[in-house]
């Protein structure tokens, strides 16, 4: 659990959504770029295309809503003009004065316009939320389906945290972009185009001035961004260093203390901390300058428009209301332009997220099932390895040529030092991996000729890693065979000595295992996994260091439970306790991924090879004599 937390924590902050104050951190963060923007975009569009009608509607609504909003200032300006002219007439003593009827009508018309725009905007948002929810749901669903259809090989190179972050972070990014950025893009584009149009309709000279401001603000911003990005990166780097140092020192604090390393550690920390401070305030300051600079440029525009507009109004080229409208337009204009820049950045992050999601969804699945799986085989649990050759990496064969015959009910032990690849055999047997050449037969048929489902029906597993899920103890036992009756579950629980302790727990069988499964002990967990395997009633049993992490007393119980389990079944036992191994019918000795010896305990000792050495080392020199007596 803590490991997962770490993986998520270590992930660099994706993108600049967590907008700090001062604006524009989105641009600062730079963001990650997808490898293939176009291809990913195409896939995303394809994903969207099933909602074609709705999305087109959303686009139309968004554009219409923005369009109606844009009309507002100009019409409002007309009212101002009307007021102004009316007033002037009144002062000059000419004309009718202010025409309230027409103002009233205009205001009502505007109100209608605004209400319409609001309704359109909301409808659009409503529809888009729906579409985004559906797509998000589907993507997650696809990922989930994929998890169970990927070859295990895939997970050798991809960490859990990575897959997890696709389900949540990446899909979330896509969802948010669909929800907000996509329509924002439409709205912004419409606004920009509409505003330019409206501005031109008022005065082309003023529009040109307003447009001239744009490159000014763009280049100013570019300048600041360039500067701040330098410090931003430095800040991120040093934040990482601080994190790294802190993690290391806290994680190894006993060592730090034992070696009196506190002073050094604090000294080093202060060094990093000072650099972090320096880059932190600089990047913060520079990114904080964005808003004032943009505001200043905006204000300059405002002033220029006021002056120019005033001048034109004097010359009677435009009206007072037009100035008012124009000022509003200039303000409306800079905002979406900045927004579009930001959205482009978000799109890039989204594409990167989508790319990861699609990559995962399109990952090669397990080798296809055979078309005519063998059916109705009578299963006994006879296993045969025939000239099996295998390597996780085809270039690096680790099992060179392995053959052996295992008869039903036999007990096979796999031994070897840590990292010798003991679980490889198991993984081959259950077809988590496919052999490179040779074949594995179960009850006379190549395991490739079974459907995976049928094949795995024959196996039961108890692993050192006691995997249980966040459900009740009862449900966890039932996991072995979901259609088992209550009596069967209870029988399995009894056989595995679960029944013996379960009544001492708060809710008995209904005790809900918590997320970290810390409310039952390690030994109890192991017993539950054994009960689960008993319930599954497999022909072939696989036990992988099932007792290594429990204390002695529990171990005795587990041993008994396992003995129950192994009765009349073919079993493969991976173990390091020699006492478990000695009675095995066949011992496979593995070293560095390869099977170096096989035979029973006696034969192997007589051979005086690797096994013998391994065995001896356990008892040190002074035991050599005793050993001779065996």
């Amino acid at each position: 659990m803590s490991q997962d937390n770490q993986t998520t924590r270590r992930q660099p902050p994706r993108g600049g959504r967590h907008g700090g104050p001062g604006g524009g951190p989105g641009i600062m963060a730079g963001g990650e770029k997808p490898k293939n923007f176009k291809a990913t975009l195409r896939k995303l569009v394809k994903e969207l295309s099933q909602f074609k009608v709705r999305i087109i509607m959303v686009f139309i609504f968004a554009a219409l809503s923005a369009f109606l909003m844009i009309l507002g200032p100009k019409i409002l300006g007309n009212i101002t003009t009307e007021l102004f002219e009316g007033l002037m007439n009144k002062i000059r003593g000419t004309g009718e004065g202010i025409n309230f009827d027409s103002i009233k009508q205009t205001i009502l018309f505007l109100l209608g316009l605004y209400v319409g725009s609001t309704l359109l905007a909301y409808t659009q948002g409503w529809i888009m939320s729906g579409v985004s929810a559906k797509i998000t749901y589907r993507l997650r669903e696809q990922i989930s389906l994929k998890i169970n259809n990927l070859p295990l090989k895939y997970f050798d190179k991809t960490s859990q945290g990575e897959v997890l972050s696709r389900v949540t972070n990446d899909v979330d990014t896509i969802s948010r972009t669909l929800n907000q950025s996509l329509t924002q893009m439409i709205t912004s584009l419409t606004t920009v185009i509409g505003v330019i149009f409206m501005m031109f309709s008022i005065s082309w000279q003023m529009t040109l001035v307003a447009l001239l401001i744009l490159p000014l603000s763009a280049s100013l911003i570019a300048l600041v961004v360039k500067q701040s990005q330098k410090y931003f990166k430095k800040q991120q780097d040093y934040l990482g260093h601080v994190n790294g140092h802190v993690e290391e020192m806290y994680g190894g604090h006993v060592v730090v203390k034992a070696f009196n390393g506190e002073a050094d550690s604090i000294k080093k920390f202060n060094g990093i901390n000072d650099v972090l401070y320096d880059s932190a305030w600089k990047s913060q300051f520079l990114s904080g300058m964005m808003m004032p600079i943009m505001m200043f440029v905006g204000n300059i525009g405002y002033v220029l428009i006021s002056i120019l507009g005033g001048w034109f109004a004097v010359k009677r080229i435009i009206t007072v209301g037009d100035i008012q409208a124009f000022i509003v337009y200039v303000r409306q204009f800079t905002q979406p332009v900045a927004q579009i820049a930001n959205i482009m950045n978000i799109f890039q992050q989204t594409a990167a997220a989508a790319e990861r999601v699609f990559e995962f969804i399109e990952e090669d699945e397990e080798v296809a099932e055979t078309h005519n799986p063998v059916k109705n085989v009578e299963h006994n649990g006879n296993v045969e390895f025939k000239h099996v050759q295998f390597g996780y990496d085809p270039e690096k064969i680790i099992i060179k040529d392995f053959s052996c015959q295992v008869n039903k009910g036999h007990n096979i032990a796999i031994v070897g030092p840590t990292g010798a690849g003991k679980t490889t055999m198991v993984k081959l047997l259950m077809r988590f991996y496919d052999v490179n050449s040779g074949e594995i037969l179960l009850d006379g048929h190549n395991i490739k000729d079974y459907s995976r489902y049928d094949l795995r029906e024959n196996f039961g597993m108890v692993l050192q890693d006691t995997w249980l899920y966040n459900g009740s103890i009862w449900d966890n036992i039932k996991y072995g065979r979901l259609d088992a009756t209550d009596e069967e579950v209870l029988a399995a629980a009894k056989a595995a000595h679960v029944d013996a302790f379960v009544h001492m727990l708060p809710d008995g069988y209904d005790l809900l295992l918590n997320e970290e499964t810390t409310n039952v002990s390690q030994g109890q967990k192991q017993l539950i996994t054994i009960a689960r395997a008993i319930l599954a009633d497999p022909k072939v049993l696989i036990l992988d260091e099932a007792t290594s992490s429990v204390d002695t007393r529990t171990e005795v119980q587990i041993q008994k439970a396992m003995a129950n389990l192994m009765k009349n079944r073919t079993s493969f036992v991976i173990a390091h306790r020699l006492s478990t191994i000695r009675d095995a019918d066949l011992i496979l000795v593995m070293n560095e991924g390869d099977i170096v010896e096989q035979g029973n305990h006696k034969e192997l000792l007589e051979r005086d090879g690797f096994y013998a050495e391994l065995y001896k080392s356990q008892f040190e020199e002074d035991f050599v004599e005793t050993e001779g007596l065996i």
Partner: protein
């Protein structure tokens, strides 16, 4: 949040400067709409003429205007003017400004104090207005200014000539009648009309009215640019101060927190958990930093801006204040409603996402189990349920949230319309000018935005306050283990005898002791092994020696000195500790080994590595001792880590070695070789080993058997096999009968 306020104290002056600058920023920001309104009101509407008092007026016009003044008023006004004729000494000087001087004498304003005489200004304004009314009205029959009843002006006649002919008393009567009518129009209207007369008079005087107007517009424009510059400068300075203060506070906090935590004992680490301490040192403080910037730049700014906006708005029009109040109430109410609906759901969403994560994580961590039991469908169903829950709730929240923006826009626009409607009425009544209304709209927006900013704060502050509390929790801890005030020294010829005297220990908050009355002595040159089942307290016991935990009762003595009476630094100088999980730091193999002794030579390092059986894998690496070790040592295996940790402890050449189950990741062969070598090399040291494997500890001179915190056996292997039941049980589970015999 407030608990950390002390960290801001050194920067009080800067904060005050920042606040002052914020005032500048707000005032300048607020000045802009006002200037804009002046451009509209004065620049456009009044043609750049600011005042109803003419700077100059021709004698002819004044004579006509004075018809609408009483004698006293006329005298009073003339007191401020000087009549310039061709004979005047300063004629040349004025000719340029007033070209009409060439043909007629002109009154020029020489005393500016008339500005302060409001009554006179008004009277003069009325006269100017009346003059203009009569002048134009004469031709067009303007109802406002038609001559008083009973007097008919013949068509085409000069009304002023006629008026001059009137007897004084009738003229005065006429004036007072007119006064009443004009008063109805209000001061503002009088002023606006008078200004137009002034402007016409200027034209008559041959002045360039166009340039007056454009000069005015440019002058105000320049002021606006200056204001904008000032505002920008203030904002940037505030940003500068804010970023510096925030970064400095963050730096100081980080430093204090880190230093504090470096002095934590295992008890405090266990209390907070390492992961949480890391977050508190990094993320939480970054949060605080961001919020400090926010507070300085926004939280302080919003009220200044809001209050300033209110003042400005009231200045423009008191009667429309209710509109702004209405807007604020509606918006806040709306935000309140949206959040009341959405907030509980937000919390729920977090839970549902956690659930989705959990299900996915379980599926991922149980890949093999899932496939082995053919329960893929079951897992998919579990995921689908979690996914559906998340999606549904998310959709609901999204649909509530997307309503925010449109409705907010609607309210804002509605407010603008309301201001225009109410404003229009007031403009018609002349109590408001058009430019003022335009400014008012902008003030209203600024006030509303200030309020919105403040609501944002209520969302951010609680989040930061959680972080601040978490940081404060760390800072306020008094570490349980501290150095004594008057530390003792160990004897010069320190031997390394470890003695436990009746030691008890209980974890804070636990109900039972983890160690109960433990007494034993570990002698130099001997190996003492500790064995017992998980949770029996063997690691805890070992960790008492370097004072990672302090005894609750009893004493731990080194060469007869209670370890609580010496400095931790001195104590640990004598101890070589090898943790259970080999802990390495990022760097190289060499830097990790040198962690024990910075001055160690390469030969010494090689020697230590050889004893620790690490030479083999170090030498097979191309870079040998310079092989990089990544953070957490993830690029070396567990066994390699343990061997490097042992080599590190060896380099320290301590009197006491502590091995906390440090051989567990080694295979039997390496384990055996290592221990043999170790025994040879560290002959005189005290060795204390915690072990799980009987084989590892069998040869110890003294074996301590722990069970549930009690010492249930003490002796050699053979003795314990006879006397200690717990030891027998452990041994049996690991070795077969033959091997035990």
């Amino acid at each position: 949040m407030l608990k950390l306020i002390g960290y801001l104290k050194p920067y009080t002056v800067f904060i005050l400067v920042a606040i002052a600058l914020l005032f500048v920023q707000a005032l300048t920001e607020l000045a802009l709409p006002d200037y804009m309104s002046r451009i509209v009101n004065v620049g456009i509407q009044q043609g750049g003429v600011e005042d109803a008092i003419p700077q100059a007026i021709s004698q002819e016009t004044f004579n006509d205007v004075s018809l609408f003044l009483s004698r006293e008023h006329k005298e009073a006004i003339l007191g401020y003017y000087e009549l310039i004729t061709q004979e005047s000494s300063n004629y040349r000087e004025y000719l340029e400004r007033y070209p009409a001087l060439e043909t007629e004498p002109v009154y020029v304003l020489v005393n500016d104090t008339i500005e302060n005489n409001e009554e006179l200004k008004l009277t003069f304004g009325k006269a100017l207005m009346a003059y203009s009314g009569v002048k134009t009205g004469g031709g067009q029959g303007n109802e406002n200014f038609s001559p008083p009843s009973g007097i008919t002006i013949p068509e085409g006649a000069d009304p002023f000539k006629i008026m001059r002919l009137l007897p004084e008393s009738i003229r005065l009567q006429m004036l007072s009648d007119m006064d009443k009518m004009v008063d109805v129009l209000g001061e503002s209207m009088i002023k606006q009309s008078a200004v137009l007369v002034v402007k016409e008079e200027y034209q008559k005087l041959g002045m360039d009215t166009d340039s007056i107007q454009s000069r005015y517009v440019f002058r105000i424009g320049l002021m606006m640019v200056l204001m904008a510059l000032l505002s920008t400068a203030a904002t940037i300075m505030v940003a500068f101060i804010a970023s510096k203060i925030a970064a400095a506070v963050a730096r100081n906090l980080r430093k204090d927190v880190f230093t504090k935590i470096e002095n934590f004992s295992n008890v405090e680490f266990a209390k907070f958990s390492t992961a949480s301490l890391i977050t508190r040192t990094t993320n939480d403080i970054t949060q605080i930093q961001l919020v400090i910037v926010m507070i300085i730049r926004m939280v302080f700014y919003a009220p200044i801006m809001g209050v300033g906006g209110v003042f400005r708005a009231i200045e423009k029009s008191v009667s429309m204040s209710w509109i702004i109040a209405l807007a604020v109430i509606i918006l806040l109410g709306m935000i309140g409603i949206v959040f009341a609906i959405a907030l509980p759901k937000f919390k729920k969403i977090q839970k549902l996402i956690d659930r989705l994560n959990l299900v996915t994580r379980e599926n991922l961590s149980g890949l093999m189990v899932v496939r082995a039991f053919n329960t893929q469908k079951f897992e998919e169903k579990r995921f689908r349920e979690a996914n559906e829950d998340v999606t549904k709730t998310n959709l609901f929240v999204n649909r509530v949230m997307v309503s925010m923006m449109p409705i907010m826009m609607l309210v804002m626009n509605g407010i603008v319309l309301l201001i225009v409607w109410v404003g229009a009425k007031q403009i018609a009544e002349s109590s408001l000018q058009v430019g003022d209304m335009m400014a008012y709209i902008q003030y209203a927006m600024q006030i509303i935005i200030s309020f919105l900013m403040l609501t944002m704060i209520f969302i951010f502050i609680p989040r930061a306050s959680v972080s601040a509390n978490r940081v404060h929790e760390v800072l306020k801890v008094d570490p349980e283990i501290t150095d004594p005030d008057n530390p003792k020294q160990f004897p010069k010829d320190f031997k390394g005898e470890v003695e436990f005297r009746n030691v008890c220990y209980r974890f804070p908050g636990a109900e039972e002791n983890i160690l109960n009355h433990i007494s034993f002595t570990a002698k130099p040159g001997e190996t003492t092994a500790i064995i017992g089942s998980t949770g029996s307290g063997k690691s805890t016991l070992l960790n008492m020696i370097p004072r990672f935990y302090d005894v609750c009762d009893g004493q731990v003595l080194l060469d007869g000195v209670d370890i609580r009476e010496v400095r931790q630094h001195d104590l640990r100088d004598h101890i070589g500790y090898v943790p259970q999980k080999g802990v390495l730091f990022s760097g190289t193999i060499e830097s990790n080994l040198k962690y024990a002794d910075d001055d160690a030579t390469l030969d010494e390092i090689k020697k230590a590595a050889e004893i620790a059986q690490a030479t083999e894998f170090i030498e097979t690496n191309e870079e040998k001792y310079q092989t990089p070790i990544s953070q957490g040592g993830i690029n070396v295996s567990g066994g390699q880590k343990q061997r490097l940790s042992i080599a590190r402890a060896l380099l320290k050449r301590p009197e006491i070695f502590l091995f906390d189950d440090s051989f567990s990741a080694l295979d039997f062969k390496t384990d055996a070789a290592l221990r043999r070598k170790l025994k040879q090399e560290t002959g005189k040291s005290t060795m204390i080993i915690v072990g799980q494997r009987i084989a590892t500890i069998k040869n110890a001179e003294q074996i301590l058997v722990l069970d549930e915190g009690k010492l249930v056996g003490k002796g050699r292997h053979d003795e314990l096999m006879k006397t200690c039941q717990t030891y027998q049980e452990i041994a049996r589970s690991q070795l077969s009968e033959e091997e035990l015999s």
